[in-house]
């Protein structure tokens, strides 16, 4: 893939613009929010389709139930709130009336991870991928930039079944092609290589891209694959890459327990055990700070990916 930074945009705006587009394409698409229309960038959809937009107030549990009822009636509801309130706060509701009942609800989860920044640990969910991937019927998407989040939103609307769509707050490099369709469950090759497989998701895909020239200077030819779909995981792509490189680094803005790295570890252990290093948060909560400070503090930054690669190659 040709990597070309087009601009710097927040992934949540990709969701907002994707929702508007999905709403134009399909009159069954409806939006709900728990008092976070602006934060989730749902304002344009609300303005364009006021009769299809539901302001639920600060009542996330009720929002999920209403969404399930709307989905049962043939609509395609997108619920929008922060990731923590889209997962942990309402896990049982999602479990019973969305996942178990298998209703076509799309849970749009913004401000995920430590890059939410100054609001601190109460809002920085690092556990949601784990919670959501454990639920049967649930598809879990973690797109990496504005363009991909927009495409993932449109793909989620077209997919029949529950979806958890995770994205973030800060402006980040927007580098994937604007016209590239999002294929759920199909990993995205960013750069082919032979010495190490880097599997990344969300904001850390860009951090891994930044690591590539540094690794190249060190004589390491890294393969970078964007695992934008945590579930269903593209097991074939993972195994194909590992067969070539023989070692793995995972990178994600999530807890090590339950995250992308944990999914990859399972695939490796069951099929082709190889050395694995995980760039992830290890069993601690976040804290206040700027997104950049926090990525550095929790070892989720470009140098941490480089170090993990060096370490895993030494273990080969």
């Amino acid at each position: 893939m040709k990597i070309e930074v087009q601009n710097f945009k927040d992934t949540r705006s990709g969701f907002g613009d994707g929702l508007l587009e999905a709403g134009k394409r399909n009159p069954k698409v409806v939006g709900l929010t728990a008092d976070l229309t602006g934060s989730l960038k749902m304002g344009d959809f609300a303005k364009e389709f006021p009769e299809r937009f539901f302001q639920v107030g600060i009542a996330e549990a009720n929002m999920i139930g209403i969404a399930a009822g709307l989905a049962n009636g043939g609509f395609i509801p997108f619920t929008g709130t922060f990731a923590n309130f889209s997962s942990a706060r309402i896990y049982d509701q999602i479990r019973m009336v969305v996942s178990y009942s298998n209703k076509n609800v799309k849970i749009a989860a913004s401000h995920a991870g430590v890059t939410l920044g100054e609001d601190g640990a109460t809002h920085q969910t690092l556990e949601d991928i784990g919670m959501m991937k454990m639920l049967p019927n649930m598809t879990v998407l973690v797109p990496c930039d504005y363009n991909q989040t927009k495409a993932a939103t449109i793909a989620a609307a077209e997919h029949n079944g529950p979806v958890y769509l995770r994205f973030g707050r800060p402006k980040v490099a927007n580098f994937t092609p604007a016209d590239e369709p999002f294929v759920i469950g199909k990993a995205q090759m960013i750069q082919e290589g032979k010495d190490v497989s880097i599997f990344a998701c969300g904001h850390l895909v860009w951090k891994a891209i930044e690591a590539l020239p540094i690794l190249k200077e060190m004589g390491i030819n890294a393969e970078l694959i964007n695992i934008h779909t945590i579930k269903p995981l593209d097991v074939e792509a993972v195994l194909k890459s590992v067969a070539k490189t023989g070692c793995v680094v995972t990178a994600e803005e999530h807890m090590r327990n339950g995250g992308l790295g944990d999914s990859i570890a399972q695939v490796l252990a069951l099929n082709n055990p190889r050395p694995l290093e995980m760039v992830a948060v290890n069993d601690v909560f976040g804290q206040s700070g700027t997104p950049d400070e926090l990525l550095k503090h929790y070892h989720l930054d470009t140098p941490d990916i480089v170090e993990a690669v060096k370490k895993v190659i030494a273990r080969k």
Binding site: E51, A59, G65, G69, F75, Q93, M96, N102
Partner: protein, 280 residues
Amino acid sequence: MTINELKDVASQVRRDIIRMVHGCQSGHPGGSLGATDIVTALYFDQMQIDPKHFKMDGAGEDMFFLSNGHISPMLYSILARRGYFPVAELATFRRLGTRLQGHPTPVEGLPGIRMASGSLGQGLSVAIGAAQAKKLSGDNHLVFCLMGDGEQEEGQIWEAAMYAPAKNVDNLVAIIDYNKKQIDGSTDDVMSLGNLRAKYEAFGWKVYECDGNDMQEIVDNLNEARENAHQGFAQIILAHTEMGMGVDFMMGTHKWHGTPPNDEQAASALSQLKETLGDY
């Protein structure tokens, strides 16, 4: 249906409940018996439905959501007796591989069930969503939702209670199975519901009250609520019921909330309930 015909159906439903719960030695007879008259009236007199052609989306018909899913034997019996699925299937209740799971679920393909329930406090939200879907679709049919009184202790109920009047959800009729009992004892002892009527009125609902085991009163209330639908306000019926209604030793106590009768108790219970439609 006439009131007497409805009473006959309810008697058979109560027999089914006892036989189902006794058969697998598991389930919730007390609440099921208490809510039987309300849901019988809905399915056999009030709701416009097409049981032979069950549609998940409920388009073009009235819909019912059971929030307190543990009284599933009552719902299963009524659905079967109304023709959604063969009554013989009631014998599979709670057994491995059954479509009649301990708590209702749509995923086993049982006609008549649209949403899982059992984790309490969620049904009213779902019913509101279904009602909103009907409005968006231009479908003038109504959505009914039965809740337990114990589950009024769940916070989500009050999120939904705030939403429906605020957003003019006027194509929904909520009903509370108000039997004043829950697993640990009386609602007054466990967590007083206080003045439930005043609470809902303060939230902006039009509130009705009736004897939830008096078929005539139930039908009168439901008729009135249906006539008042589509007028910009949300409606709820507080249906005062007796847990265990119809079986003398199951009434006046919370002990039969989740306890099945033994052989002798089942025989005694069945001797008090007229077989009107033929046992399954």
